[in-house]
C-alpha cells in the first residue's frame, strides 16, 4: 500500500515544528515532543531499517545541541523507531486505545532509554525523570498525536 503523502507532510511538519518550538523559540517542556510523535508516525510507514535511520537522524539533531550527553538521544530515538516499526507486525488496528497507548508508551520508552544512556552524573532520579515526567510527557505526546491524526483526517482514512 502506498503511504499517504499527507503522513509524510505531517511527519516533516512535526519535525520542523519541534525544532522551531524547542530550538528556535526555546519554549522547552511546555512544547510537546513533536519529534518523537513524528518518529512514531513515520516508523509505522516504513520498514525497520529506514525507521532506525530516521531515529538516528532525529537523535543526532537533538544530540547536536547537547553538550554533555552526546549519543543518548541518538540511541533513544533509534530504539524507539525500531520498536515502532516492529509494532507494525505485532499490532493491527487504528483504535483510539491503540493510538494513545502507542504514542504514550513510545514517548515513555524514549525517556527511559535516554535516562539509561545519559549517564549517572547527568540523570535525575528515576521516579522524577522517568515515572513522573516521562509519563506526563507521554500523555502530552499521545494527546497531540491523536488530535493531529484526527484533525488531518488520517485516522479516518485508515482501514478498519
Amino acid at each position: 500500500m502506498k503511504t499517504d503523502a499527507r503522513i509524510w507532510l505531517l511527519f516533516a511538519g512535526l519535525a520542523l515544528m519541534h525544532l522551531l518550538l524547542h530550538v528556535g523559540f526555546g519554549i522547552g517542556r511546555a512544547a510537546p515532543d513533536l519529534l518523537t510523535v513524528a518518529l512514531l508516525l513515520g516508523a509505522r510507514e516504513v520498514g525497520m531499517g529506514r525507521a532506525a535511520g530516521m531515529g538516528l537522524l532525529f537523535g543526532l539533531l537533538e544530540d547536536a545541541l547537547s553538550v554533555l550527553s552526546f549519543g543518548a538521544n541518538s540511541a533513544a530515538m533509534t530504539i524507539v523507531a525500531v520498536l515502532g516499526a516492529v509494532t507494525r507486525d505485532l499490532f493491527v488496528g487504528d483504535s483510539l486505545f491503540f493510538l494513545v497507548s502507542y504514542f504514550l508508551i513510545g514517548k515513555w520508552v524514549r525517556d527511559l532509554v535516554y535516562w539509561f544512556m545519559v549517564g549517572e552524573t547527568l540523570r535525575q532520579p528515576f521516579v522524577d525523570q522517568v515515572l513522573i515526567q516521562g509519563l506526563i510527557g507521554g500523555m502530552y505526546a499521545a494527546i497531540v498525536g491523536v488530535v493531529l491524526l484526527a484533525v488531518t483526517g488520517l485516522r479516518q482514512q485508515a482501514p478498519a
Partner: protein, 296 residues
Amino acid sequence: MPAYGPEPETNGGRRPGMLAITFLLLALSISYLPDVAQQRIAWTLRVSILRPFLATQERILAARMNAQNVEQLMGQIDSMTAVLSTQAALFDENSTLRKLLDLAERAGPSFLPTTVLRGGTAGSESMFLVRVGAAQGIYEGAPVVTWRGLVGVILEVQKEISRGMDWTHPDFKVSAMLQDGTMFGIVDNRRRAFREVDRLVLNGTPFSEDALPGTPVLTSGLGATYPRGIPVGVIDEVEATQGQWGKSYWLRPMVEPGEVTHVLVARRGAGGDVGALWLADSVQVGEARTQLGRRP
C-alpha cells in the same frame, strides 16, 4: 495512520533487519566516540540543518535583550527625571532660604524668621499662621515679608503663634509709593475667581502723572502700620482713570502668597525705613526691567 499494510521494504526480510541493527549499533556507539568526533558531528548539524532554528533563537534573544534594554533605559530615565525634579524643588527652596537668610542677616533682630502654615480649609484662604507670637515681640499689624517683598500683615497675636492675612485678602490695604517717592497711593487687591489670579492695584495716584511700567512700588510708611520701603509690586499698566483727577495701576506683585513657605515677621521697633534691606534683591530686579520713575 494506515493500520496495516504489506512490508514496504520488499528486498528480502534480512536487509531491513541488518540495516536496523547497523543503525542501532551506530547509535549506541556514538556515545563512545572521541570528543573531537562528537563535536565535529554536532558542529556539522548545527551549521546545516539546525542553523535556521538557531538563528531564530538568536534573533528572539536579541529582541528580548533589546526589550529589556529599553525597559531599563526607560526606568533610568524615569529615575533621573524623578531625581532631577526633586533636586529642582530642593534647589529652589534652598535658594529661597539662602536669600531669606541674607535678608534676616541684614535686618538683624528687628525681623524674626518663621514658617508659614496654611489651614487649607474652606474660608481660610488668604489667611496663614506663623509660629511666633507675643513672646517673641510680634504685634498686631506687624508686616510679614520675604526676600522679594511684602506678603501680608499679622492680624491676631497669641503667645507663641500668630494669625495673619496675605495681600489677597479683601481687607488688605497698604499705603504705597513709587520707589523714588514721587507718587503716592493706596494699594489694595482685586479678587478674581481664583486666588492665583488676584491682582494688586495702586489707587489714588495723580491723573496728570504717569508711572512707567516696571517701576517698583514700595510701602510709604504713612499710617505707621508698615515701615517705609518694603517692596509691594511693580507697575504693570493703567487699570482705570477716575475722571480728570486720578488714576489706578495694575501691579505685578513681588510675592506670590501660594509659593511662600518661610517668612520674616517684623518685631516691635523694626524701624521707620527698611528699604535698604531689599535694595540687593527684588527692587534691583525691578529696576533692571525698565526705567525708574514717573512720566509727566
